[in-house]
Subunit: 646 residues, 2 copies
């Protein structure tokens, strides 16, 4: 591994001790590209795990893995044990997922395979915010591996990228930044078609569909029109023609992702059209080609006057999109961020999920740790993602969880060209876990992180005992030493790393705490901005009432005095102080525990993560001291334990 | 003028009504380049003022301007009236300044010229922070006119630049940024010598010396040495050889300006050497060529931990340099910013001026309005500069003003490629005024600004009556609506435009207000950081005592409760509120008064300035509301007049 330019992440199969007999022989007839890829993965995996090359036969005889390719176009597969043999049956894509399931299972000690499996969602995507100059917006793991100097890349790393995605269940990727600028505008033009088609073929071998972010203003930027009005015939025709030509060159394209009317991006509002009118126009161009449209709901006023206390950014998604339920074409999926604002460490679930009864949606997570430590801090997001997917919306009788409501899942990628792909060696858990949850949102975070840990770092119990609780608690720890109780946003503007309590307070982004010397927060109940009323009952009532509102979201929903008494009898401000001292101490404990693993891990992995923990501890102390000092200086209320506050 | 790429600023001579007879004939023998330039200026000026081409004779007959060039190498000149004739006598440079004095005088209505004049300081410099890629650090008037794409420019604009400098008395310019990076490191290499020599010739014609900022690490960056240690023989030899070769190619170079051990720049501290050891090594290389070294004293800890309350950045200059008094070579001038911190709208005078008895110094002003509205706000700095120059240091009996103490003056340029050179048409006053004060620090701000106003906008009394009080009060107005009472720094980090009260509070730059819910400020008296003790008596006592400390500097020197009672009986916080409402109202009044000048001014000038006032008003309201809200939210103390605070 050391001579490679990049690690294998969890695909670094280790020798196993009690290899089942069927690993000696693979009996397979693989016709499709994916079926062949599955066979190749199994062969390589078995070699790595057993040390022996398996026999590859076309007829069964004795104990073997019997791989049967059907013409099923779906992604499901089935195992059946037959004596010492194991039968794996599925269509091309099914075999791929089955092969990885088998390999992962063997690697984590599973020896009994039986039954069938299929993904919960037909679309499980990774969104890259990669620019064609090679930079990555909100990228914390090096430059893009898709782009360099305006060109599209391909080759072994892309193939290994596709393998990683397939191995954890992801089946789509949007390769370019939703902020479509510069050369990326021209991705739709013939210049880039050959490279796109080639890239799509590499990805397709592992069942990964290629998607593109497109600019709503493309008819002007590329088409020479003076408008991008979705109701203009010429604009419709331009999109239809361009999309047809693009699909002709790149037949298996998944579709388009669009950020419109958002943070300076053009969109239908420019022409007095609704979001539905804008989306449907594009969707119709795609429908003829069998493509889908992912339309982001991240629409809000990003030029708010901080003096304006009536506008509440948290309301924006529902205000804009809930009234349009049922107005979108069938091949549109509304892409909704998990929370109402923007990927903070703690937000309530977006109420918009519970307001769409006749519109398909895709939930957008962010595994790029923009606000959660930027892959310098350990912050495993899988427990949070699972909680969100399991969250009940109460919008219909039964099956009312987010997981039951959305039609697809996606996440903003945390990957880049770094050797370890994700900057922090432990941050691969977020990528792996997102894929696994997208396949099956009922897996527990513990199951998922345990798999990741054993696959990535081996099955020494000391490693799992150390890393599993660390990962599972890491987001709670991060939350403790950063902005408290759901208030969010106390970060440095622009780059979003490190504490800055007033960083966005007098700015135009709609993210205010409005703290005085006695109280803090925005009241979002019925007597405030009314945001709570965007939820269904009983959620709206639970959130509106200070006594029932979950404490971890108290300052998201309510404006409260520092002296407010929490359920355990502490004041709110004492809770803030305690959390910050505890959170920082916990981060220091992470670093200490990591040291104990030195003898059990490759030196390079150990050292990389050690440096990350050094930075996490430094930054956690900075967070602790800035947040505590800011609350203390503002309120004048001392810590009851007399700890050092500046 | 409209077809030019840039305006003439105050050199746009207008027709005068009662032209003296001597303007019809110039009797001159000009031998030197500067003498010829003087003659050319007079000829062009007389044409513009009278409409007639003057006769140029070599022998006097009748009323004439008799220009006599002597071999005086100084910059002085003398007028003597002889009947209807006027005699102007001086060396080459003296004639130049005399010619401009005459032209300026004629243009503002002066008809009687007599007596001699000479500049107070031999060196009056403009420091450009221009980068060779064409950008300007802290530039608010467009890109550099000296550099483009790594090349040195020359041509008519540079010549007109030199004319502007000479016409107000400036005789030197350092053309490149003190942060010497990228291509600028190579300015000392043969590649750039021909262009430098040519540029020096253009400037020299108008008596302007060329200076270069150099990198202390140049022996490593250019010389291939592994050290820049000033005590290393090879380093000394490299500097001596390089400087000699450079002077050979560019003979009339003024010398070097160096920012060492400052904000990440390399310097002698890297090698455990003193600032004197570092400076003297360079000074010796220059001395052989007749060059001077300007050594900046802007040395402080820019990686301070905000939790550290013992380190006081204001002390740094004196702490570093006062003990070295007398240790610098004769051709070294210590370049000292006017205040102890960094060009804030209100700072005390740097105590270092009063601590150098055996070391030459040059005072550094900043007419680039980095912290004073970035040439979007009207902020005339001339009254402040004059107050500083007139400030008594009490370090010796008599002649104890700053003006008597420094050996030279310089200012960070506010110029760029914009049509009007300085971004804001009224900001030219800072450039003009700096030159005039450098020539004679006893001129009053009113005299200077009146000259500038009449020269630039004509002699309509309505214009002068409007603009003169506006200019003279503009910095007080700016001060009122920005950071209060000398506290400074409540600006947005990095770009330094607009309010951000906590912008630098938890950062590493040593600029803290340490405000709580009851008090604000850093105590710099003897019971605090002891900064006041860097002044001589009685200043140290005046500043140390809250009752005698000038109120406008109260929060620079002292930590005080918001309820502190000011001399007029108002609380400190009420003073803050009042100032901000008043300051903002005054800015709005500026804008209103400007509108009245529309019929009297060229449309382009009127419109440009109107747009600037629009932005100033918007920004002043933002300042008012952010600062007031921040103080109110922090203290809980309401405005006694019940005005709107958010």
């Amino acid at each position: 591994m050391s001579s490679m330019e990049y690690s294998k992440l969890w695909l670094d199969w280790r020798r196993i001790s009690d290899a089942p007999d069927f690993m000696k022989t693979i009996c397979a007839e693989a016709h499709s590209a994916q079926g062949k890829a599955a066979l190749s993965e199994l062969r390589e995996g078995f070699v790595a795990m057993t040390g022996d090359e398996p026999a590859i036969l076309s007829e069964c005889s004795g104990a073997c893995l019997h791989m049967v390719e059907t013409d099923d176009t779906g992604e499901g597969y089935a195992f059946s044990a037959q004596g010492e043999s194991l039968r794996l049956e599925g269509g091309p894509r099914g075999l791929l997922y089955g092969a990885f399931d088998l390999l992962r299972g063997l690697a984590v000690g599973k020896r009994c395979f039986n039954g069938s499996a299929a993904p919960r969602y037909p679309l499980r995507m990774l969104d890259h915010w990669d620019n064609m100059d090679g930079s990555v917006e909100r990228g914390y793991a090096g430059n893009s591996f898709f782009f360099e100097d305006g060109r599209i890349l391909n080759g072994p790393r892309i193939r290994d990228y596709a393998r990683l995605l397939a191995s954890c269940g992801i089946n789509g990727c949007c390769i370019n930044n939703v902020n479509v600028k510069a050369e990326a505008v021209r991705l739709m033009t013939p210049k880039h078609w050959p490279a796109l088609a080639e890239l799509a073929r590499t990805l397709e071998e592992y069942g990964v569909g290629l998607w593109l972010s497109v600019s709503f203003a493309a008819p002007m930027e590329l088409g020479g029109l003076e408008t991008a009005d979705p109701m203009d015939e010429r604009v419709c025709r331009w999109w239809a023609d361009t999309t047809a030509a693009l699909y002709n060159a790149v037949p298996n394209l998944g579709g388009f992702l669009v950020k419109a009317d958002s943070e300076g991006r053009p969109g239908p509002f420019t022409y007095g059209r609704t979001q539905a009118e804008g989306a449907n126009m594009l969707a119709r161009a795609l429908a003829k080609q069998g493509g889908k449209l992912l339309w982001r709901c991240f629409v809000y006023n990003c030029t708010q006057d901080w003096r304006d206390t009536r506008t509440d950014r948290a309301r924006a998604q529902c205000d804009h999109f809930a009234p349009l339920d049922g107005h979108f074409d069938d091949n549109v999926l509304l892409q909704i961020k998990n929370g109402p604002v923007d990927f903070q460490p703690r937000e309530p679930v977006s109420p918009l999920f519970g307001r769409l009864e006749r519109t398909s949606s895709i939930i957008e997570f962010q595994i790029a740790q923009e606000y959660t430590g930027q892959q310098k801090h350990l912050c495993c997001l899988i427990p949070m993602f699972r909680d969100i997917l399991q969250f009940r919306l109460y919008h219909r009788p039964g099956n009312d969880r987010v997981a039951d409501t959305v039609s697809a899942v996606c996440a903003v990628s945390n990957m880049g060209r770094d050797f370890n792909w994700t900057g922090h060696d432990l941050a691969g858990a977020n990528l792996y876990g997102f894929g696994r949850l997208g396949w099956n949102p009922d897996l527990t975070a513990e199951e998922i992180v345990r798999e990741y840990t054993v696959l990535s770092f081996g099955d020494d119990p000391k490693i799992t005992e150390t890393l599993l609780p660390m990962q599972l608690s890491s987001r709670a720890v991060y939350e403790k030493y950063t902005a408290p109780l759901g208030i969010g946003w106390m970060v440095n503007p622009n780059h979003h790393y490190g504490p800055n309590p007033d960083g966005y307070e007098y700015d135009r982004w709609g993210t205010y705490h409005r703290a005085t010397n006695t109280e803090i927060g925005v009241e979002r109940g019925p007597r405030g901005t009314g945001y709570t009323m965007q939820y269904r009952l009983p959620l709206s009532a639970i959130y509106a009432d200070i006594d029932t509102c979950p404490e971890e979201l108290l300052l998201f929903f309510h404006r409260l005095p520092y002296t407010y008494i929490m359920k355990d009898g502490r004041t709110l401000i004492q809770r803030v102080y305690d959390d910050h001292f505890e959170g920082c101490a916990a981060a220091e404990e992470f670093a200490r525990k990591w040291e104990e693993l030195e003898p059990l891990l490759p030196q390079d992995v150990f050292e990389r993560v050690r440096l990350r923990f050094d930075e996490q501890c430094r930054s956690a102390r900075e967070w602790r001291d800035v947040i505590n000092s800011w609350f203390f200086r503002r309120s004048g209320i001392p810590d009851v334990h007399g700890r050092e506050i500046y």
